[in-house]
């Protein structure tokens, strides 16, 4: 039984304008206070409670900086909540930032293995999938070459083929519907649909409202890190569209909130 349970989850973190601290900040900052750029506190998620059960297909919508991707990463366990509790039952498969994280010097074949191992596969289970992943990516002989020589489109193809070759229990998807060139996109969307059908439970983030409505049976609308509304796709998406239209005409549709824009 796959299940996600979030209780009063908040996430706040400090963001420094440049990442990390350096010697100059501490020495110079101590003498000339005004030059010292204080780290800013960002409240990315604010008191979110959420229950997702087996069979549900949840879509997260909201404007830029509303906390959609952060929420997804928190469910994945990449971010730990600063307050509240997170419980996830079932093996998590996450599809985000998939075009990143290739070992540049390693070949396509080797990278398929690294990725699969990271997703919890064993050498034996990877052996069974290797050919299927290679075929779907249509990269052929390029798989013998180091990934360093791949174009960005080729990387996305490879990443997508690996990421969707799994049998997911809890599937987390962030904006990967647009993968590769036109021909590959159609194929990728079919594959995505099949993967989602296999998953026990799915949570996705997308700006494509039509696709979201098509793939999800429940929608959560986030605003400034808070839940604004939860309900069926037929209920929430028209309301969200209406709000966006009004916000655009009154100039209120700025990305993020006052603090969130610092992120």
């Amino acid at each position: 039984m796959a299940n996600i349970s979030l209780k009063n989850v908040s996430l706040a973190f400090m963001v420094k304008q440049d990442s990390g601290y350096n010697l100059k900040d501490i020495l110079v900052g101590g003498f000339f206070r005004k030059h010292y750029r204080m780290p800013k506190q960002v409240q990315a998620l604010d008191d979110i409670s959420l229950e997702v059960n087996d069979g549900e297909r949840l879509g997260i919508i909201g404007h830029n900086g509303a906390g959609k991707s952060t929420l997804l990463r928190l469910i994945a366990g990449i971010y730990q909540p600063s307050n509240g509790s997170r419980k996830v039952a079932g093996r998590i498969s996450s599809l985000f930032d998939i075009a990143l994280g290739f070992e540049q010097e390693a070949t396509g074949w080797e990278n398929i293995r690294f990725r699969c191992y990271l997703q919890g596969e064993t050498p034996r289970s990877v052996d069974n999938k290797l050919q299927e992943i290679a075929d779907f990516s249509e990269l052929g002989e390029f798989l013998e070459m180091p990934v360093r020589f791949y174009s960005s489109g080729m990387r996305v193809r490879l990443a997508f083929s690996i990421a969707t070759a799994i049998d997911p229990e809890v599937l987390l998807v962030d904006e990967v519907l647009a993968a590769g060139d036109m021909a590959f996109q159609a194929k990728a969307f079919e594959r995505m649909r099949a993967t989602i059908a296999k998953a026990h439970l799915m949570v996705m983030v997308s700006h494509d409202l039509e696709r979201t409505a098509e793939l999800c049976n429940r929608i959560i609308w986030l605003e400034h890190g808070k839940v604004r509304q939860v309900g069926s796709a037929g209920e929430i998406i028209p309301a969200y569209k209406e709000w966006t239209r009004i916000a655009a005409s009154t100039g209120k549709a700025k990305p993020g909130g006052t603090v969130l824009s610092a992120a």
Partner: protein
């Protein structure tokens, strides 16, 4: 705690394949490949031995294995130190995609360096057999626990510096300078006695790397098992660094990603 170790074990295929890749990538496209791992310590030992034999009138047969063990251990520790600063930055894309235990990234670096250490060390053992004769089974076996301590020390150093450098970007520059200085202050290619005779014993005693050097050199050069005190001292140092690294990791692991 057990959960954490289980997670490390569960992701073993991932980090082991990365170690293998690091080793292969290092020599990819070079004609001699792994041969370079042998040539480098040989060349360095030859040069330092030549210089020392002339300057300090050392006897080559016993001094060559002394220099070679020094050089191999030094290059292990200095690699763990200088590359340790980058481990979490290098793994950023993985960290952002998958919540794997962070301890595996220092393991990756430590294991790749251990491999080179083993190659060079077997060469040093061969050299010492040639120079001073077979040390005996027990002294040779005493290298196994020593090596374990050295690996723990290597992991701890890279983990600590990796965390530090995420928060404080000057660390990598500081360690570069510190390593340069430490290289001259450590009895790697000159006899330890030289410092002690000059009244600089404290410099040898304060150096955390020296006990590990002694652990490896004693069986090869004097054909004796290192003293219990020496093992104790090395265990305290490695254990101390390990605790410091593990506690830091435990406390900061979940927040590290916000500073990458």
């Amino acid at each position: 705690m057990t959960d954490y170790l289980n997670e490390i074990w569960r992701t073993r295929f991932f980090w082991m394949s990365l170690v293998r890749m690091d080793l292969r990538a290092k020599y990819r496209g070079s004609a001699l490949g792994m041969g370079w791992s042998l040539i480098q310590p040989i060349a360095m030992t030859t040069v330092f031995c030549g210089v020392s034999a002339t300057l300090f009138h050392q006897e080559i047969a016993s001094f060559a294995p002394y220099v070679m063990t020094g050089l191999t251990l030094w290059s292990f520790f200095s690699q763990c130190t200088s590359m340790g600063c980058y481990i979490f930055h290098q793994a950023e894309a993985y960290i952002r995609q998958h919540p794997a235990p962070m301890a595996i990234y220092p393991i990756r670096l430590m294991l790749a360096n251990t491999f080179h250490l083993l190659i060079a060390l077997s060469l040093a053992i061969a050299l010492s057999i040639w120079g001073t004769g077979f040390p005996g089974i027990l002294p040779l076996l005493s290298l196994v626990p020593s090596l374990l301590l050295i690996m723990i020390m290597g992991w701890s150093i890279s983990c600590l510096l990796g965390i530090l450098n995420v928060y404080f970007r000057d660390v990598k520059h500081i360690t570069e300078v510190a390593l340069q200085i430490l290289m001259y202050l450590t009895p790697i290619w000159y006899p330890e006695q030289l410092l002690r005779e000059k009244g600089l014993s404290w410099l040898v005693n304060a150096n955390p790397i020296v006990p590990f050097l002694t652990l490896v050199r004693t069986p090869l050069l004097t054909h004796e098992v290192p003293s219990v005190e020496m093992y104790g001292l090395a265990t305290i140092i490695a254990g101390g660094f390990f605790l410091l690294a593990a506690l830091n990791l435990r406390q900061r692991e979940s927040r590290l990603i916000f500073f990458l």
